[in-house]
Amino acid sequence: MQSGNPLLDHLFRRAGFGASAADLQAVAGLSYSAAVDYFVDFEKQPDDVDSKIGLAEYVAVTSRGQFSPSTNIEDARQRWLFRMVHSKRPLQEKMALFWHNHFGVAYSKVAGTVGAVLGTKMIANKSGDTPGPQGHYELLRQMGLSRFRDLLIAVAEDPAMLWFLDGRTNTSTRPQENFGREVMELFTWGLGHYVEADVYAAARVFTGWNLRSVPGANKQEAEAYQEFVYRSAAHDTTAKTFTFPINGGSNTIPARSAAGGIQDGFDLLLSLANHPETARRLAGKLWNFFVSELDAADPAFIEGVTDVYVSSGTDMRAVLRYILNSRWFTDPGNFNARYSWPVEYVVRTIKEMGWNGFSVDSARVPLTNMGQTLFEPPTVAGWQLGRAWFGTGQMLARMNFAAMLASNQRFNLARSFSPAERGQPDDVLDGMLKRMTPAPFASNETTELLGYLAAGGPWTGSDTQISVKAPGLAHLIAGSGEYQFV
């Protein structure tokens, strides 16, 4: 819903998923920079959102048997959607989504080999829920605003990643390039800063980075897990030479003993993470995600982010605080300047239309039709963003999700309109635009929306009329072009 302050609405759309009344209450009276701190220093808010699952007053989940988000992927998806709707730490979920797109690990490839239970655990196990390390998404959420170099190392050792990019099969006798290539092309500095020979050297660096299976104590599938292990016998101990400096020194990682060879991987990951070109590439992605997809990144923004990134030792929290306070982020010309992702669209629609009596399970299939299944990015490069979200079929899927939700929320919406909000069609439209936050409509579009309210008979504001027109208007707004931007 609208706060009355367009900049704050913008902050909620970009650093979160839109604002509910409770969200606005949490930042009431704060200055803008204090509101930014509220988002960025999210550990100051409790992380109690999982305990709300299943309670009245929150969006529902639908479980088939016991709700098991650590071992059932559909439940894991529902849990994440629930968290996006209700977390008191919206930027934590937003950054997890950003990194999910950046690191592009897909559940289906992992589960296709290890099975659904272990596959779900590798993606989404909540620490302590079942034995074994936390899942990939949990890692992204826990480390979303940590130092990028720490995040990169954690991802390189993450069991899901070791399965997804085949690192577990990378040995000194037959190096395997999949991770070594993507860590440079996609996860750090991108094409143009390395050559093929660097890919082959990188593959050798990560030989021996592998997994160990731990069987379930009671032969129960959920007890079993896999964890990272460095297998020194499979490591290529010879020197590896690159076309760029390692740790700021020479271009060569020296020959090392097998036992100490894991340091090769740390050396390369740190060299990549610390490099200003990695900062520039991340800055470009952060520009598109947080500032604008419509205008090319301002070089001053890229250099500003790079400076903060380098001087802070790759600290993403410092980077995000810089971005959200920057003149580019706060420029009203950049409000509604990004095409929303399907999960953003769905979560914001739920937050703004209402959720009592609605289950996020109902959003799963529509999200697939919109082109974004959580934990299933189409490639390791993530989803295609921007205009690519807007095929005709995907646009209809957005509109039809909004129709389903508006129909589901018919009586909640109708009841929420006070007598004053029902006086005339323009009162109803004003009321709806306090609840929903599309980009501003032009006057002819406003006339069209009022025309819909007036169509079909004289305006009375009766319960019957409002219970038809409120969901119809909510659907029109959620299906409008203006509502597809954040």
Partner: protein, 422 residues
């Protein structure tokens, strides 16, 4: 303009909603017909992930094929023999490609070996963009199919192309039109939360709202144009839902997409270019050989699905009006890695299937001996070097099939040395 309104009730999440389906404006349908509705269809098939060409078309007499692929080579006794290439080298299809062998034996499958380009990118994403734009030097612009559709007379029917995948590829983006992405016609509807007269009022408002943003708001206009294109194509796409094919298609996404394409072609809804893809070709591990493994499953999907589509069209007399072109973003490394898989390589293969195709094996196989003077290999003998520029295949398709000028669309003359596969 008048629109016909029909209603179809459905229940979703226990809530009744109405699907409003309405015909495209008459002028668009006329345009579709005028633009040659059923005359010539182009179906582009993308094998996503970098297809291991040496496992598709097996050089089973090359000793280095076996010495460099001890774990994943297809045994010579198991390949489906289809003869020799121009250099006299015997080649065979993967044993799971019985479907393609049947098409080959009918003379309607052309395999173009070693298709690619100079300095092949080993990146999936860069490589796919290069194949999409047909421009190895600048792969950031609109794609070759989008540029072709841009040349159609205005206004261009929004259903002139149909992307059956959920993703948008650079090949499909144009300056005027991007191919609509329609993964499942059954979901291609417009629902209202209300019913009866209000639903119609609401739908009419949605149609008008989508027409309002002008060029001063280009990004909003883009989204609204997508909505408008959706509204204008609902009926034609919906007409495909009830399609009754003449054969049973395999139960996989690739085959089901081809079945939808067949329904669209048979229904004559005016689409000219289709994009169909199937993934899983990034076989870094567990590739297997003839007996099983990931690659064998991929070949089953490809061969059986394409044979079903081919047979369905043939049964309905539409084979002569359909050309399929298959490609992947690169071939794979010659030597297997330690994971019974292969890493990213260079030259790959292309396929052409259909009534107009002159079947056969085109080009010459690489010699897989990694000796320094072997000009068929590159990357220190690691990868297959391209022989046929993939743009010459595009040029043949554009000039010889869809009736466009390839030099305009490809920005140069790539007709030289093009294999005469149609």
């Amino acid at each position: 303009m008048a629109t016909r309104v029909t209603r179809r009730e459905f229940i979703r999440e226990g809530v009744a909603a109405f699907t409003l389906s309405f015909a495209a404006p008459a002028f668009l349908v006329d345009i579709a017909r005028a633009q040659g509705a059923r005359s010539r269809n182009l179906v582009v098939i993308y094998l996503a992930g970098g297809n291991d060409a040496l496992s598709t078309l097996v050089p089973y007499t090359d000793p280095f094929y076996y010495s460099r692929r001890p774990g994943i080579a297809v045994p010579a006794a198991q390949v489906l023999q289809i003869g020799t290439d121009a250099s006299g080298k015997a080649l065979g299809l993967h044993p799971r490609l019985t479907g393609l062998q049947a098409i080959f034996n009918q003379g309607n499958l052309a395999i173009i070996q070693r298709a690619g380009y100079l300095n092949s990118s080993r990146s999936h994403f860069h490589g796919t963009d290069i194949w999409g734009t047909a421009n190895p030097n600048d792969s950031g612009g609109p794609g070759w199919l989008g540029r072709y559709l841009d040349t159609l007379p205005s206004p261009i029917d929004p259903l002139a192309g149909w992307n059956t995948s959920g993703a948008t590829y650079r090949a499909l983006t144009g300056n005027k039109l991007s191919l609509p992405s329609i993964t499942d016609p059954r979901n291609y509807s417009f629902a209202s939360p209300n019913s009866g007269a209000d639903a119609i009022d609401e739908r009419n408002s949605a149609v008008r709202l989508a027409s309002m943003a002008g060029s001063e708001r280009p990004n909003l206009a883009f989204v609204n144009a997508t909505a408008t294109a959706a509204f204008a194509t609902l009926d034609r796409v919906g007409s495909v839902v009830g399609y009754q094919p003449t054969v049973t298609y395999p139960n996989n996404g690739f085959a089901q997409a081809l079945r939808t394409v067949a329904g669209s072609i048979v229904g004559g809804i005016g689409t000219r270019v289709y994009w169909v893809q199937t993934g899983g070709f990034d076989t870094h591990s567990g590739q297997g050989n003839a007996g099983g493994g990931d690659y064998a499953d991929l070949m089953t999907t490809v061969g059986d699905s394409l044979l079903a589509f081919y047979s369905d069209l043939r049964n309905q007399g539409l084979l002569d009006s359909t050309l399929m072109i298959g490609f992947s973003e690169f071939g794979r490394r010659i030597s297997e890695n330690g994971s019974q898989g292969t890493d990213h390589g260079a030259g790959g293969l292309m396929m052409a299937i259909g009534g107009p195709v002159r079947g056969g094996i085109y080009g010459t196989a690489a010699d897989l001996n990694p000796r320094p003077d072997n000009s068929t290999l590159e990357n220190a003998g690691g990868d297959v070097t391209y022989e046929t520029d993939f743009r010459s295949i595009y040029a043949t398709v554009l000039d010889g099939w869809v009736g466009a000028d390839s030099t305009v669309i490809l920005g140069g003359n790539f007709r030289t040395n093009a294999p005469a596969f149609i």
